[in-house]
């Protein structure tokens, strides 16, 4: 059970002896917008590489090495309308290294990097800030060399053209980041530290009492508890399409559909099974028909996001096959809506989904994420309950979900004149 350390500050300890490590995350969460998201992304870049006590990568890396290669990272996440800045660290369980204090050392370390940033005159230290901002912008540029990512991003901008928060990549928006100054970012950070909801999650061979003790020194203060909405329900819109040419050997066809089913709501498990059948598993109809049967692609898959009610399809194909692939994708959707799939395939998809869910119990990171999300939603579904729900889904349920799917955006990255 999560423990409230102060108003709006929660500690969630997952005791387990399954792993050789102890993993701890500290999440600062608030409703998101483009500016705040960009702020967080630049904060993550900056705070991952410097702090007052560890001003350079070298001093930071050396500290982590001495802690038996403890990992440390700062990243940004988005669940529906909420966004979070996450500090995470993983250490080796003391038992394997004959040490007695790595846990308290990690808690002290995290305090130091979160609460003692590298600052001069109420602004992030100018040289470090400038360098990290430039590195982030350079990284954003080179991300476009990953064509799968690029195509996905272009599609997202079409589909969410009226919701720039969702259209913005989790790696950031170059224009917004370019305009951030060391001073404004520092005051934003101070605000974030004192107003955001804090969730601390620890998984490993630890007792809650040890953490409560260690965290007392952080003196975490009460904050306004905002029970804001997580789910984004995008309105139906006109279909938009875009084709772009680039000198590539392989073309990318990406499609976005609206599927108005939301995380843990009534039809959620049906939508999961539908997605597994459509393109979410390697036994799916997309994989079978686009790749295996017609050998038109190396990859062809779908993904369902229950926080925005979005179904995405991505394929890597030959440019000449655009129309054929589109037709096959539409046929699969149609076939599911008509119930044209075997019981055996449906059973395989259900078994695969169960395998995936239960396997997540073996990942420390997945356990931490699930605990954080449960806290955010004030609800939880255990793995056995989840499995029960999935097993209850019928072929009629799946067909009914397929009928709710509506085509909203198509992006085609057309390969031409590649050497």
């Amino acid at each position: 059970m999560p423990k409230q350390l102060a108003k709006g500050v929660w500690l969630n300890v997952i005791p387990t002896t399954q792993f050789k490590t102890i993993s701890m995350t500290v999440d600062f969460i608030a409703p998101g917008n483009v500016q705040e998201l960009s702020n967080r992304i630049l904060l993550a870049q900056l705070l991952e590489t410097s702090s007052a006590d560890y001003p350079t990568q070298t001093s930071l890396a050396r500290k982590l090495s001495m802690m038996y290669g403890a990992s440390y990272g700062v990243n940004v996440f988005r669940y529906g309308l909420q966004e979070g800045l996450r500090f995470s660290s993983t250490i080796i369980n003391d038992r394997f290294i004959g040490s007695e204090s790595l846990l308290s050392e990690m808690v002290k370390f995290l305090y130091s990097v979160i609460y003692r940033p590298l600052v001069t005159d109420d602004a992030f230290e100018a040289v470090t800030f400038g360098r990290q901002k430039q590195n982030l912008l350079a990284y954003l540029k080179s991300l476009n060399d990953d064509k799968q990512y690029y195509a996905e991003q272009q599609l997202s901008q079409l589909y969410f053209k009226n919701e720039p928060f969702f259209a913005t990549s989790l790696y950031g928006d170059a224009q917004t980041i370019g305009a951030i100054s060391a001073k404004t970012l520092y005051s934003t950070y101070q605000e974030l530290l004192s107003t955001n909801q804090i969730q601390i999650t620890v998984a490993g061979d630890v007792a809650e009492a040890d953490l409560v003790n260690a965290l007392e020194e952080w003196q975490l203060k009460d904050r306004q508890v905002h029970d804001s909405e997580l789910i984004y329900r995008r309105p139906q819109d006109e279909l938009v399409s875009k084709t772009e040419g680039q000198p590539l050997q392989q073309s990318k066809l990406n499609i976005a559909y609206k599927l108005p089913v939301y995380y843990r709501e009534a039809d959620f498990y049906k939508a999961l099974v539908f997605n597994g059948l459509f393109g979410g598993t390697p036994i799916s109809m997309l994989f079978k028909n686009v790749r295996e049967k017609n050998s038109l692609a190396y990859y062809a898959s779908s993904r369902f996001d229950g926080f925005t009610g979005t179904l995405l399809v991505q394929t890597g194909i030959d440019q000449a096959n655009e129309a054929a692939v589109k037709a096959i994708i539409a046929e699969q959707l149609d076939a599911i809506a008509k119930g044209e799939f075997s019981d055996e395939l449906l059973n395989q998809v259900v078994a695969s989904l169960i395998n995936g869910r239960e396997s997540r119990l073996d990942s420390q990171r997945a356990l931490v994420n699930q605990a954080m999300l449960d806290q955010l939603l004030h609800s939880s579904v255990s793995a056995p309950d989840w499995v029960k729900q999935i097993k209850r889904v019928t072929r009629e349920d799946v067909a009914a979900i397929a009928k709710k799917v509506s085509l909203q955006a198509v992006y085609f990255l057309k390969g031409e004149d590649a050497k």
Partner: protein
């Protein structure tokens, strides 16, 4: 069944070589919900020329055949192995490297059925003209996808520079031209030669009971007939010490990428000493260019390297090399800076002894942490490369390393190494 307890890891590894030669390893992991199994043949993209089992004359097959075979193993006369796994909730996959081909599944239920599916589909080839031709379209798309990926081009380009005119210079998947030549008989011949149980191992890790699991595997294997095992005669061209020193490739990229390949020409030690060599090299490069190194910071602050900088130490059957890569506004400055550091490696390492404990601790921690992941354990395990030693001995080896070991190994590696520079620059 042999049973070996590693007290520093808190792990017990069970193993047995079956009468048909298959090496079986079982690692039970308390508290885990899934089981991961990987069946590996000592056969990869470089094994294009060989004397077939029971044959006399050597043959040379098209580049990419090992990877093609991997794709084609899943398809049978009346079913696809993917579906059989899925029927039992198993999630299956496969991958091919320069020297190995591996087939795997992970499952939280029906371990016995999934294991039998794995053993059966890997040992029962089925190829026809039609299924082979159909696969050419899929693999063709895979090859083209990687052709568009600058990081993949940089990596394989560098390997090709380091080993010109050797099978290592071919992409693992081959080329559109080479795979077009592949015929069902080629695949049968490769399978017959390299998929004999005596050339394979099976590693099962996670939720399992060793005696019961071994009994399932034995029952499955003893019901099958295999040819008498014979040593495999691979034919590799004589390794010339020449490397291609520099290549530049234009691609539609946003930022230039620089890659430095360092090919070891020194003779590798055998057994546990080889593991020690690899770890000494790893610690040596961490001391020189890892994030704790003063040179790292100075290059980073000058903008010569950035967060994309990284390196990999690769040791495999018949070759060893280090690949260092990163995005660089000025690839030449990147190359000059790193080569200069390598040239002064001995002095720089001698001055780094105050950081030795830190990088040693980091290596110990990173090995221990890898034992959280069933996939990492099974995929990294190689029971032939280091003789009797393996991944399980790594913590002990790293603990015993000294600064002198590191300096000697780095000297041995660098002094005779061939160096190659590969740049990818914007343009098309």
């Amino acid at each position: 069944m042999k049973q070996q307890h590693y007290s520093d890891l808190g792990e017990t590894l069970y193993s047995e070589t079956l009468s048909n030669g298959l090496r079986v390893y079982l690692l039970p992991k308390a508290g885990f919900h899934k089981t991961y199994a990987v069946m590996t043949t000592d056969y990869g993209s470089i094994d294009q020329s060989f004397v077939p089992l029971n044959g006399t004359a050597p043959v040379t097959q098209p580049a990419g055949i090992a990877h093609f075979l991997e794709h084609k193993m899943f398809e049978k006369a009346d079913h696809d192995a993917f579906d059989t796994f899925a029927h039992f909730g198993g999630s299956s996959n496969a991958f091919t490297s320069f020297t190995h081909t591996s087939y795997l599944f992970s499952a939280t239920h029906h371990l016995q059925e999934n294991l039998e599916t794995l053993l059966d589909f890997v040992q029962d080839p089925y190829f026809t003209e039609q299924t082979v031709n159909k696969e050419k379209g899929i693999i063709g798309q895979e090859i083209q996808m990687y052709q568009d990926d600058p990081n993949s081009r940089a990596y394989f380009g560098t390997i090709a520079n380091l080993y010109p005119n050797q099978p290592l210079a071919d992409d693992i998947a081959g080329s559109l031209e080479s795979i077009d030549k592949i015929k069902p008989d080629d695949l049968y011949l490769a399978h017959q030669t390299f998929y004999h149980p005596s050339n394979m191992s099976l590693f099962v890790v996670g939720r399992l009971e060793p005696a019961e699991t071994l009994a399932w595997i034995k029952a499955n294997q003893s019901a099958k007939q295999f040819a008498k095992p014979a040593p495999i005669k691979r034919i590799l061209p004589l390794a010339s010490p020449r490397v291609i020193e520099h290549k530049r490739l234009e691609m539609p990229v946003e930022r230039p990428k620089a890659t430095i390949g360092i090919r070891g020409m020194d003779e590798l030690p055998t057994g546990i000493d080889r593991l020690k060599y690899e770890d000494a090299l790893s610690l040596g490069f961490t001391l020189l260019l890892g994030e704790t190194a003063p040179d790292f910071l100075s290059l980073y602050d000058k903008g010569i390297i950035d967060d994309s900088f990284g390196y990999n130490i690769e040791l495999q059957r018949g070759a060893h090399h280090v690949i260092m890569a990163g995005e660089a506004e000025d690839p030449e400055a990147f190359e000059n800076a790193i080569i200069s550091i390598l040239q002064h490696a001995t002095d720089k390492l001698a001055a780094a002894s105050d950081r030795f404990e830190a990088v040693q601790r980091e290596a110990i921690g990173s090995t221990l942490a890898s034992f959280n992941s069933l996939e990492a354990i099974a995929n990294q395990f190689d029971d032939r490369l280091y003789g009797e030693a393996s991944l399980f001995d790594e913590v002990g080896v790293v603990k015993a390393l000294t600064m002198t070991d590191i300096i000697q190994t780095m000297q041995q590696f660098i002094s005779s190494a061939g160096i190659s520079l590969q740049e990818i620059v914007p343009g098309h």
